[in-house]
């Protein structure tokens, strides 16, 4: 037990960041599963982070309530945004959501109450590790179950062929919007948790790089299963720690790893398990029945 205690003490920040990143990766997973490439989740994270931190500071709002309000604020903003941007598809959708992220960042930079460029400092460290991991377990469970429901099947259908999905009676725009708002809710919650881990936040924590990083967690881990984003976030967040012995070659190795995954496992690391199953079936000549 002592060993575990020591380990947690030494790496508690990394472990917390892994959990938060896994939540963020799941937040973008929802839209990716519906086949929509959106890059607004860093901004939703920012809204959750600032809202909860400001509520706690100025109104003394209890921590769980502040987190919830932050998450709902992100979701409420996502609804009208989604109605507008889902007229677009593919790379245009990605650019539009990215532009939204920039707008949020610039607004945070210009507003006195958010501390402008200096951001907010001295946020009380109210987030415990178990808060993060309980949230992660809950979100992963809910999304896993939703994946197997009528809603999850509709998302998959939209991803496979939007026109055919509409012809099965699926209200395509509404389902896309649902995915987007759910993603924003999760990202907002994760943002609130993360603000109360890191002591200080500033607008550049939630910039373009963050949006792309979140996307990379989910894509490298793999979109077919909810375990993918969690796995991707865990691996890519801990990799800098694990690769420390490589010193200067660390970033190069990380880049090569990403490239390898994208080239050889385009559906993500979780498909490794599937590949093995397919190979076993090949060996017994049973691919036809699978």
């Amino acid at each position: 037990m002592d060993a575990i205690g020591d380990f947690l003490a030494a790496y508690s920040t990394t472990i917390a960041v892994i959990g938060v990143n896994a939540l963020l990766a799941l937040s973008v997973w929802v839209t990716l599963y519906a086949g929509q490439l959106t890059l607004g989740n860093a901004a939703f994270m920012a809204i959750g982070a600032y809202t909860s931190a400001l509520l706690g500071r100025h109104l003394g709002t209890p921590f769980p309530l502040a987190l919830a309000i932050g998450a709902v604020a992100a979701a409420v903003l996502a609804a009208p945004l989604g109605i507008t941007v889902f007229r677009l598809r593919g790379v245009y959708l990605a650019i539009a959501t990215l532009a939204f992220g920039e707008v949020v960042r610039v607004v945070l930079l210009a507003t006195p109450i958010t501390g402008r460029g200096q951001g907010l400092n001295g946020i009380p460290p109210k987030t415990e590790l178990w808060h993060i991991y309980a949230s992660l377990a809950l979100v992963a469970y809910v999304l896993w179950r939703v994946q197997g429901s009528t809603v999850g099947r509709s998302w998959a259908a939209i991803r496979e062929d939007e026109l055919a999905a509409q012809s099965q009676g699926i209200a395509v725009r509404r389902y896309k919007l649902t995915a987007f708002v759910m993603g924003a809710l999760v990202a907002g919650w994760a943002g609130g948790l993360s603000a109360h881990v890191t002591f200080s936040i500033d607008p550049n924590d939630f910039a373009f790089t963050k949006a792309v990083q979140i996307l990379v967690f989910a894509v490298v881990g793999g979109v077919p299963s909810v375990l993918g984003p969690i796995f991707g976030a865990a691996l890519l967040t801990s990799l800098p720690e694990l690769l420390r012995p490589l010193k200067d070659a660390r970033d190069i190795f990380q880049g090569l790893l990403l490239l390898g995954v994208i080239l050889y496992l385009p559906r993500g690391l979780v498909t490794l398990a599937q590949l093995r199953r397919t190979r076993e079936l090949h060996e017994i000549g049973a691919t036809d029945v699978a």
Partner: protein, 252 residues
């Protein structure tokens, strides 16, 4: 089921793909829609099923004007379709394709799904999907990805998926394209069985023999206009049709 098109017009830029078409499809029959390539057949059914908005005219289904109704809502009202060349969800299993087809007839089970057991409705839906696959002869392949099925199987799966929405009007866009004679004969049997079950079918087809052997009534389109309508025998005897379509084919 009743379908009435009145003065239906659809333009793409300077081209009038469908030009003031009037059409009444009576229930419980296979209604054939034929015409040379580019005659406007697919555009017409895209307007009927709601994928395209017409520039003029009305579509009435069961006596109600559905011209402005969205495509997904038309499925709920009983119009299902397949696509020329097929549009399956290739990354989903055959079974899942049919389940997606059940979408409008299933209650949303998001909340129920949070509880980790299977509900009775879910079991019923699964049985229904299995029965549909059985009907088109794909029960054994239920777990295969749709994209990995043989071509003929894919065509039949698309029909099963369309049937899953319990349509009263089923629109089939060239369902026999690429099928061998045996498969084509099975398709004809399936269509007759569906009509016997009270489903009306609009069949777009290039295989003239299939159309003539299956349809009670046939309409002919050419350059977006309806140039003839009648029984298969009448259509075959119609000089305008011979010139526009059958004649051109004879010459080739």
């Amino acid at each position: 089921m009743s379908l009435e098109l009145a003065a239906l017009t659809k333009r793409f830029g300077g081209v009038t793909a469908v030009n003031a078409v009037d059409l009444v499809v009576a229930p419980d029959q296979v209604f054939g829609l034929i015409g040379p390539n580019g005659a406007g057949k697919t555009t017409l059914i895209n307007v009927i099923a709601g994928q395209l908005r017409p520039d003029g005219g009305t579509v009435r289904f069961d006596g109600r004007d559905i011209t402005g109704v969205e495509a997904h809502e038309r499925v709920r009202r009983g119009i299902a379709r397949t696509f020329q060349g097929g549009r399956l969800f290739k990354g989903l299993s055959a079974f899942e394709n049919v389940l997606v087809g059940r979408h409008t007839r299933m209650r949303s089970d998001v909340l129920a799904s949070l509880v980790p057991f299977r509900t009775r409705t879910e079991d019923q839906e699964r049985e229904r999907a299995d029965a549909l696959l059985e009907r088109v002869g794909l029960r054994q392949r239920a777990g295969m990805l749709a994209g990995e099925l043989a071509y003929g199987d894919q065509r039949r799966l698309e029909i099963a998926r369309a049937l899953a929405s319990e349509p009263r009007l089923l629109i089939l866009d060239e369902p026999a394209a690429g099928l061998n004679p045996t498969e084509s004969a099975r398709l004809r049997e399936l269509m007759r069985a569906l009509v016997a079950d009270g489903i009306t079918i609009i069949l777009i087809e290039h295989d003239v023999r299939l159309v003539m052997g299956t349809c009670e009534r046939v309409a002919v389109l050419n350059f977006g206009r309806k140039i003839a309508e009648g029984s298969p025998a009448e259509i075959q005897a119609d000089p305008a049709v011979r010139e526009a379509y059958l004649g051109a084919e004879d010459a080739a």
